[in-house]
């Protein structure tokens, strides 16, 4: 497990046309590790009849809504959003400084 709760992370900007479970709207965005969810078989392998092994660490990653959407987010600046993201999609981020 590379990350712990509280660590700041940035989501990779990969844009494959193959099956992944990292939504496009969080790619390139900064957030924090909210929770370590455990290890799960990799869906990117399972989708193509692979065995999904070795299991990948999965994290609940939190984002400020204003960081995800900037001016598009018209609701409360305190609001947040959480996505479960596999470790290989995350890199450490130095600081949570607003936008991409």
């Amino acid at each position: 497990m590379k990350f712990r709760p509280g660590d700041l992370v940035r989501v990779q900007t990969f844009a494959p046309t193959t099956h992944v479970r990292t939504p496009a709207y969080v790619r390139g965005k900064q957030g924090w590790i909210e929770r370590v969810q455990g290890e799960f078989r990799n869906p990117e392998s399972l989708a193509y009849a692979g065995d999904g092994l070795p299991p990948q660490p999965l994290y609940m990653v939190g984002f400020r809504q204003v960081d995800l959407w900037q001016d598009r987010y018209a609701e409360s600046p305190a609001d947040s959003l959480y996505v479960d993201i596999y470790e290989h999609w995350l890199e450490p981020s130095a600081s949570l400084e607003g936008t991409q």
Partner: protein, 102 residues
Amino acid sequence: MARTHDMGGRPDDAPLNLEEHTLADWEVVADALSVALGTRGLRTTDEHRRAMENMPADDYLALSYYERWVVGTEALLVEKGILTREEIDRKMAEIEATWGVS
């Protein structure tokens, strides 16, 4: 540019349609058959998702939820060599003939 199924934040002004429909028998069958294939170890959830994600964008946007499930199920069964499209076509024609519909 997000793939068609990757819909979070897609521009959409539409209000939600809060009406709920009772599932038609074929929808119940589509759901159960697909999951039963998984229970039998013949497909994984991610293969099923991938098969649906790969359909042409226009189809993904036009078809209903369970129509997409049928497309995905068929694609996987054909890909895995369990059934062929031609035999599905033939069986479908037989069903229509038996029912007297087309």
